[in-house]
């Protein structure tokens, strides 16, 4: 059974059919790409998957559990984490705390214990620090732990966003244009990071990307969207050589 399945997913904004009858099926451990021209509905699908929008019709299944109509928080708890097209970090907080917010639901002590600094506060905070540092080390960000997030270089901010998403311990990771605004070297490094995350955490990753080098380099399967509908779907090389895809998106 696939880890993520969308069945006949659709949503309209007023008269605009933003997403129509989209079926995507992502297997566990897969690196899956979602590509298409601007305005094709890629980010809208991410927003549907994470409960930012509610679909007009269709269903979303994660590991067989129906997530249709669930709120963002519940979907996060069910195991979908995401990054954003325009980076959304907690910019005024230290890098370490950004990850610790991601860990929020996995470690617990009450507000009261926190204010009085009871023993549990110290114990849990210590565990959280250790776990957060571990994640930062995975992404090579440990030396920036005390920096304000907004002071990180662009590429590291992207990585931090992934680290924060991974802190929620997801089953499925959604990356929205992770390579946007990166130079070729940074993109190369990002590809390594994405592969590494998949291998190390046995993560299933669904990503939106315009950088064809990255898509061709790491994605195993692709769905191409155009005007909210699936234009092509299948193995990466097949899809990229599909004449429809070339006319609609890639160009000759």
């Amino acid at each position: 059974m696939a880890l993520l399945e969308t069945k006949n997913l659709g949503i309209s904004f007023g008269g605009l059919r933003a997403v129509n009858a989209v079926d995507i099926s992502v297997e566990k451990g897969q690196l899956y790409g979602l590509i298409g021209p601007n305005g094709a509905g890629k980010t809208t699908i991410f927003n549907l998957l994470t409960g930012v929008y509610q679909p007009d019709e269709g269903a979303i299944l994660l590991d067989g559990v129906n997530l249709t109509g669930k709120k963002t928080i519940e979907i996060c708890k069910a195991g979908i984490a995401r990054t954003f097209q325009n980076i959304r970090l907690f910019h005024d907080m230290p890098v370490l705390d950004n990850v610790k917010v991601g860990l929020h639901n996995h470690y617990s002590y009450s507000t009261f214990e926190g204010i009085l600094r009871l023993p549990r506060y110290h114990k849990v905070e210590k565990e959280m620090n250790a776990k957060a540092m571990e994640l930062l080390e995975v992404f090579g960000l440990e030396k920036y732990a005390d920096y304000k997030a907004e002071n990180l270089p662009y590429g590291q901010q992207r990585k931090l966003e992934i680290a924060r998403a991974m802190a929620t311990n997801p089953k499925l990771l959604l990356l929205d244009e992770p390579a946007a605004g990166m130079n070729p070297n940074e993109t190369g490094e990002l590809m390594e990071t994405i592969r590494f995350v998949r291998d190390r955490f046995e993560m299933t990753i669904l990503l939106i990307e315009h950088d064809m080098k990255l898509v061709a380099g790491i994605c195993e399967k692709l769905t191409v969207l155009n005007f909210g509908e699936v234009l092509a779907q299948g193995e990466t090389q097949e899809v990229l050589n599909d004449p429809h895809v070339i006319t609609a998106y890639l160009g000759e």
Binding site: I73, C76, F90, V101, G114, D146, Y147, P153, A165, P184
Partner: protein, 404 residues
């Protein structure tokens, strides 16, 4: 660092004959490099400053506590040696009140990131609830215990009102939230102004009309007399109590900020959508922060009420003028900067009194000082100038302030 590698590649590709061809691309790199270099510079500076953030925050908190305690000792010494005029002595408790409420509001404005103009209202609730309690149990309980219970009642009632107000209000954002809290603050004040409350042998009487409709027995005790407020509240506040309450408030707020809850609240402030995406319950944490903030404003109200023999809900002390005044403390001291709020609250309360001799020009000078301080503290050029000056004077302690 990654960026270093990428720059070099950029350079080598664009070398020699190909330079012109990749002119455009080179420009892009150039720009990127420049911005990255700038960023790196800033980061290197910060790296030196924040070597160990964890101990740094604790150290910073200690400095804040220390500052309050030191001020207390100095003031006590000055008072005992007779260097403080009776006018200023009378202001010591109000100082503490304003400091507490400024710190409380900073929790809403700086940490939660929402503008509240209703904190005078929460102060008002705390003041009246505790004053009524203290008046009713004036004879029955010893002073210390009575004041302690009054504190709890004041804080709890303000928290309750804060919670109830917060439920509808926190659905709004920014300017809208500010205006609705302003309205709630006024409503609270006006309700209390119309409230009549009395107690006699047959129980508690309550009316929103007038004193007569309470139908009290002869020997009954009037607790709230409408616009005339509460009279005869025991005078339990003093400077020492005020300073202790400041320390308690600081303890609560600073520990709150550095706890799991505080992080969740700040994450909502920094990016609500991202906070939701990592599973933070936005409504819950907004309400927690707002309620804690309101209850601390209530504590300030308790202190205020027990410093006066007659407590009235006037526009002057609990109206929106007061709310805006508190907001000025917070903004001037630095949004999110707890220590700054304390300093600003004391300075701005002291200033009109110091300027009293100038009679007619007093408020004019006060306003000018306010403008100048605001520019000096917050104009980007002034901030830059201050940093430069600091580096020159104290080369070892670069930008220490930033870490607050």
């Amino acid at each position: 660092m990654v960026s270093v590698g990428s720059e070099r590649t950029g350079e080598s590709v664009c070398d020699g004959k190909r330079r012109q061809i990749c002119g455009n691309r080179k420009n892009v790199y150039e720009r990127q490099r420049m911005s990255e270099a700038g960023q790196r510079k800033g980061m290197e500076m910060e790296m030196k400053v924040n070597k160990s953030k964890l101990s740094k925050t604790t150290k910073n908190d200690m400095i804040t506590y220390g500052m309050v305690i030191l001020t207390y000792i100095v003031v006590q010494l000055l008072v005992s040696t007779g260097h403080v005029s009776s006018l200023i002595q009378g202001l010591l408790v109000p100082f503490c009140t304003y400091v507490i409420v400024a710190v409380a509001l900073n929790l809403t404005v700086g940490i939660l990131g929402e503008l509240s103009l209703g904190h005078a209202g929460f102060m008002c609730v705390g003041a009246f609830a505790s004053a009524v309690f203290s008046l009713a149990f004036k004879e029955a309980l010893p002073g210390g215990l009575r004041f302690f219970l009054a504190l709890l009642i004041g804080a709890a009632s303000a928290a309750l009102v804060g919670f109830l107000v917060g439920i509808p209000v926190l659905r709004l954002r920014g300017d809208y939230l500010a205006i609705v809290t302003l309205a709630f603050g006024e409503i609270i004040k006006n309700i209390i102004n119309a409230l009549y409350l009395g107690v006699d042998s047959s129980g508690v009487h309550f009316s929103m009309k007038d004193a007569l409709s309470l139908h009290m027995e002869e020997d009954g005790l009037m607790l709230i007399k409408g616009a005339q407020g509460v009279t005869g509240t025991p005078n339990d506040s003093n400077f020492t109590v005020g300073v202790i309450l400041i320390l308690v408030t600081l303890f609560i707020v600073l520990n709150f900020i550095h706890s799991r809850t505080g992080r969740a609240v700040m994450s909502i402030r920094d990016n609500r959508i991202a906070a939701e995406s990592v599973g933070i319950n936005v409504t819950k944490y907004k309400l927690i922060a707002f309620t804690v903030s309101a209850s601390l404003a209530g504590v300030a109200g308790v202190l205020y009420a027990h410093n006066l023999s007659t407590l009235n809900a006037l526009p002057k002390n609990f109206g929106y003028n007061m709310s805006i005044m508190i907001l000025v403390f917070v903004v001037l001291g630095g949004i999110g900067n707890i220590r700054g709020s304390i300093v600003a609250a004391v300075l701005l309360t002291l200033l009109p009194e110091v300027l009293r001799g100038l009679s007619d020009y007093r408020m004019l000078i006060y306003s000018i000082v306010l403008i100048v301080m605001m520019i000096f503290n917050w104009s980007p050029n002034a901030v830059f100038f201050r940093k430069r000056l600091q580096q020159k004077l104290l080369p070892g302690r670069k930008a220490e302030k930033e870490a607050v």
